[in-house]
């Protein structure tokens, strides 16, 4: 299987190179070559899928002749984690990268199979170049071959593996890395098409329309991956936080922030033909950040909790980033003439200018995080010392920027495109401003929120923004009700499903704002205490009485678990129990040793969590295991006396001793001997561990009362739902992808714009005069497009080289 895998991987590498080369050779519009290159990309995807399948089968079947399996799994590793173990390895994660890229590239080429004929060859070449880079890395760079043979022991395939790090054995770890990777990787698609657009000088909104969905998918995956990481940190790592401004976390946040900016600013280019340089630069930046994230976890250049060892592929990825940055910058600069805006911003009070402000805030935030993350390197350069920046420094900048973002997220949707008159502004801002004022007042009067001005202003702006969004849904539904005569709920559904992008986006806004409220609440109003309790004792934290009822323990082959049962009382009433514990793992992948090895491996906290809508009670325990360790030492002494055949030992000992001697001579008996030893030790370990049940020693408890954490998870789910709504194909697309000429697409975009303006008018965002102006402008532009079409063939206005296709009758959705 190993050599089959290597061969398939080699073939995949060749396929990637071939697909790119064939695509480029067909750049003059040779239909057959383009089709061929597309098929080779599909084949590339198939080959990598086979590689992944072989590796996963090896993991599932405990084939320890695979080095990757031997190093990252073991027989005892739970089945689900065996599959997840692939991406806990360096080589496996590279394979995952390439594989996801092959899927995304295939999907992108399938979706554009009848479109963008000039652009696609270059986009294919870029995607396959990057794919070949990662595939080649696995083939040619040292130590990252996923099909490497395991180191042989005595000429035999190892009988067991090292196992998966217990810290990584958490359900969210099974999906967190693939999510993040899918996010990173999917940004390759818009990047590749942007490069194609730049090379061929076809820099209208076509490439954006074709890849917008991929950008949104990437954004969703990356965001969800970040969230799972936060959740894992909160429930598994035993420090009580979900975000630490750790370099690796930052590395994933930066492309997400730039991606957010990109998703907004491309709308301005689509609708208004502006910000072209900005969009091209943003996607280059986003993709470079995604590569940087891939690089950081493998380079060891920065100190991180996610300390991945230094290793060999870092420099190569750095080289790729350099090529991407230099090449793209040169390309953008050489195309500056083509990238000029078609229009200017009419008014500062318009949706596009708010988009611009939000973009600047997002990019500013990314710049801050970038600086802070790489500060150790920067300071080493200037002062010779690696100095690093801690969380407070990041908070100082990101807090006001995030609050500004919430404010403008509130303003943006209330404004129409192009311009807004004072009267209509007054109309749409009245209610949200009033609600924000009332909420702020209530918070100041009824809670202590005014001690934390940042948090208070975030809550106020959040109230403003959420009310504004609710008003959007309300007025939109009303307008639709009037138009169609549908009852309310149906009108709401109709409104959202007819304008998925807009209202899906609004739902994402709601989710992100709710999430940020959770972040502000939990970081500003947290109570955090370390307490020592003996069994029977109790303490009071923030109005909650916590009583250490009794110690608990459990033993199995791989770990000791020591914990406690805690009773929680609020206002004199018992509201529940929590069971925090700490697990002590034996080092995996070794022959059974003395019982004391239970304390030589990893130790992980199992947090006792009582989640609530307003507050989480979070408790982690550090049990005092000194007594147990004494018992373990005694048991180990007894055991070694037993196998040394001390006088008066029971029959069992003698039998075991004989078996061990036989195993020393004949390796095939080893597994049997190990099993016996483990069994005996298990019995001894259990007896020793039971002593913990009667301990009177004090355990250390870290108790956190964390307000509004649940809002983060709820907000994230809302945002996910919104993203899915925005991603869902609209009815027109599902009816069958039309072979569209460029003018068709332009026309449809213009109709959409008219429709948007009508909706803005109906919901009161555009006053009658403004609407009349905007509508007239839009209709004039639409007529221009139609005129150009009738006089087409020569194709003025930058749409030359557009091969004529049989045009479908008009199929533009109205309404």
């Amino acid at each position: 299987m190993l050599s089959l895998g290597s061969a398939l991987l080699g073939l995949a590498f060749l396929a990637a190179l071939a697909a790119g080369a064939i695509a480029l050779s067909g750049r003059n519009g040779d239909e057959r070559r383009l089709r061929l290159s597309r098929r080779v990309v599909y084949a590339f995807c198939g080959l990598l899928t086979a590689c992944v399948a072989i590796i996963e089968l090896a993991f599932a079947g405990d084939d320890f002749s695979f080095n990757i399996v031997q190093q990252h799994s073991s027989i005892e590793t739970p089945a689900g984690y065996k599959l997840a173990a692939m991406w806990s390895s360096q080589e496996g994660s590279l394979l995952l990268w390439a594989w996801v890229l092959s899927i995304a590239a295939s999907a992108a080429l399938y979706a554009t199979r009848n479109k963008l004929r000039e652009l696609v060859p270059w986009a294919t070449a870029v995607m396959m170049g990057i794919a070949a880079f990662f595939t080649g890395l696995m083939l040619f760079a040292p130590d990252v071959d996923p099909f490497a043979k395991a180191t042989m022991q005595m000429g035999q395939v190892p009988s067991d593996g090292v196992g998966l790090n217990p810290l990584l054995q958490h359900p969210s770890m099974m999906i967190h890395p693939p999510m993040l990777y899918s996010g990173y990787v999917a940004f390759t698609i818009p990047f590749a098409f942007a490069i194609g657009a730049l090379v061929t000088r076809r820099i209208d909104a076509e490439w954006i329309r074709a890849t917008r969905r991929f950008a949104l998918i990437a954004w969703t995956f990356l965001g969800f991956g970040l969230l799972l990481g936060a959740r894992w940190s909160y429930t598994e790592l035993g420090w009580g936080g979900y975000w630490a401004w750790d370099p690796v976390e930052n590395a994933a946040l930066m492309p997400w922030l730039l991606g957010t900016a990109f998703l907004h600013s491309i709308m301005v280019q689509e609708k208004r033909g502006m910000l072209k340089v900005w969009n091209a630069s943003l996607i280059v930046g986003t993709f470079s950040m995604a590569l940087l994230g891939t690089f950081l976890v493998r380079s060891g250049v920065l100190q991180s909790i996610h300390a991945f060892g230094d290793n060999t592929v870092g420099p190569y990825i750095l080289g790729l980033i350099a090529v991407v940055l230099v090449g793209s910058t040169a390309l953008i600069v050489s195309r500056l003439d083509d990238l000029r805006s078609e229009k200017r911003i009419d008014s500062l009070a318009s949706r596009e200018s708010i988009f611009l402000v939000n973009n600047l805030l997002l990019v500013g935030m990314t710049a801050v995080i970038f600086w802070g993350t790489f500060f150790p390197l920067i300071s080493e350069l200037f002062t010779g010392d690696k100095a690093s920046l801690a969380a407070p420094w990041f908070d100082r900048y990101t807090t006001p920027l995030a609050i500004g973002l919430v404010l403008f997220t509130g303003i943006g949707p209330l404004l129409a495109w192009r311009r807004v008159s004072w009267e209509s502004a007054q109309r749409v801002f009245r209610i949200p401003l009033a609600v924000a004022a009332v909420v702020t007042l209530a918070l100041v009067v009824f809670t202590g929120a005014d001690d934390h001005l940042w948090a208070l202003s975030l809550f106020a702006f959040a109230a403003f923004a959420l009310t504004g969004l609710a008003q959007e849904f309300w007025t939109g539904t009303q307008a639709r009700k009037e138009l169609s005569g549908e009852p309310g709920p149906q009108a709401l559904v109709g409104l959202v499903s007819r304008n998925r992008r807009r209202y899906g986006g609004y739902i994402v806004h709601i989710g992100v704002i709710v999430l940020l409220v959770g972040v502000a609440g939990s970081s500003s109003f947290q109570t955090n205490r370390d307490v020592e309790l003996r069994p029977g004792e109790s303490t009071t934290v923030d109005g909650r009485t916590i009583t250490y009822v009794k110690p608990t323990m459990a033993v199995d082959e791989e770990k000791f678990t020591f914990g406690s049962l805690l009773r929680i009382e609020e206002g004199g009433e018992v509201v529940g129990f929590v069971r925090p514990s700490r697990r002590f793992f034996r080092p995996t992948g070794q022959a059974p040793g003395p019982i004391s090895t239970y304390f030589a491996g990893e130790a992980t906290s199992e947090v006792g969590l009582r989640a609530g809508f307003w507050h989480d009670l979070w408790i982690a325990e550090q049990p005092n295991v000194a007594e147990v360790q004494r018992g373990v030492r005694l048991a180990d002494q007894g055991f070694s006396a037993c196998v040394q055949g001390a006088p008066g030992t029971p029959e069992q000992c003698k039998a075991l001793r004989a078996l061990m001697q036989a195993a020393a001579a004949d390796p095939s008996l080893q597994p049997q001997a190990f099993r016996q030893i483990s069994q005996l030790q298990g019995l001894a370990a259990e007896r020793v561990a039971k002593s913990f049940l009667t301990t009177t020693a004090a355990s250390t408890f870290k108790v956190i009362v964390n307000p509004l954490v649940t809002w983060m998870w709820i907000g994230a789910l809302i945002a996910l739902a919104g993203a899915l709504i925005a991603l869902w194909p609209s009815r027109g697309r599902r009816r069958g992808a039309l072979v569209r000429t460029e003018t068709d697409a332009r026309k449809e975009a213009k109709y959409r714009e008219i429709r948007d303006a009508e909706l803005d008018h109906a919901t009161g965002k555009l006053s009658d005069e403004d609407f009349a102006l905007v509508d007239a402008e839009l209709r004039r532009e639409a007529i221009e497009i139609l005129d150009r079409e009738t006089g087409d063939g020569s194709g003025n206005g930058g749409s030359n080289g557009n091969r004529a296709h049989p045009r479908e009758p008009e199929k533009v959705e109205q309404g």
Binding site: S88, G238, I305, N311, L360, E602, N624
Partner: protein, 133 residues
């Protein structure tokens, strides 16, 4: 105001905000950062020196000490003198002998005293290295 001039003003405002942010970033980062030091550099440091200590926990040196723990930290390459460290409060999960840690604190006469909540333990490398042994 003519649009050309308006645009110019906007550009100047935007650029100055960016420059201000940049200057603030640079200024605060150099003043807020703590310097990373290895134990051998701190063993003879004057009491009161604050630093971010990075190094390896010496195997078998961890003792519980009242509410906190005491241990020794040595340079990452394992050479040089080790430094006694005390730390109050709960330690992160991956903390144990042989692991690399990062800890902010100050040098005092009896050794390095860590600030609560600043102890970071590097995870056992997820991606194995050749020099792992």
């Amino acid at each position: 105001m003519d649009p050309q001039r308006k645009r110019k003003i906007r550009l100047v405002v935007a650029l100055s905000v960016a420059v201000l942010l940049g200057v603030a970033l640079i200024y605060t980062s150099f003043s807020a950062s703590t310097e990373a030091r290895e134990p051998s550099e701190l063993v003879n440091a004057a009491p009161g020196t604050s630093a971010e200590l990075t190094g390896k926990v010496v195997q078998g040196s961890i003792r519980r000490d009242g509410n906190g723990i005491a241990f020794r930290v040595i340079d990452r390459d394992g050479k040089g003198q080790s430094l006694p460290v005390t730390y109050q409060g709960a330690v992160p999960d991956p903390f144990r002998g042989g692991r690399e840690i990062v800890l902010t604190g100050t040098v005092e006469s009896a050794g390095f005293v860590g600030e609560p909540e600043t102890l970071i333990t590097k995870c056992p490398s997820k991606f194995t290295t050749k020099s792992d042994a």
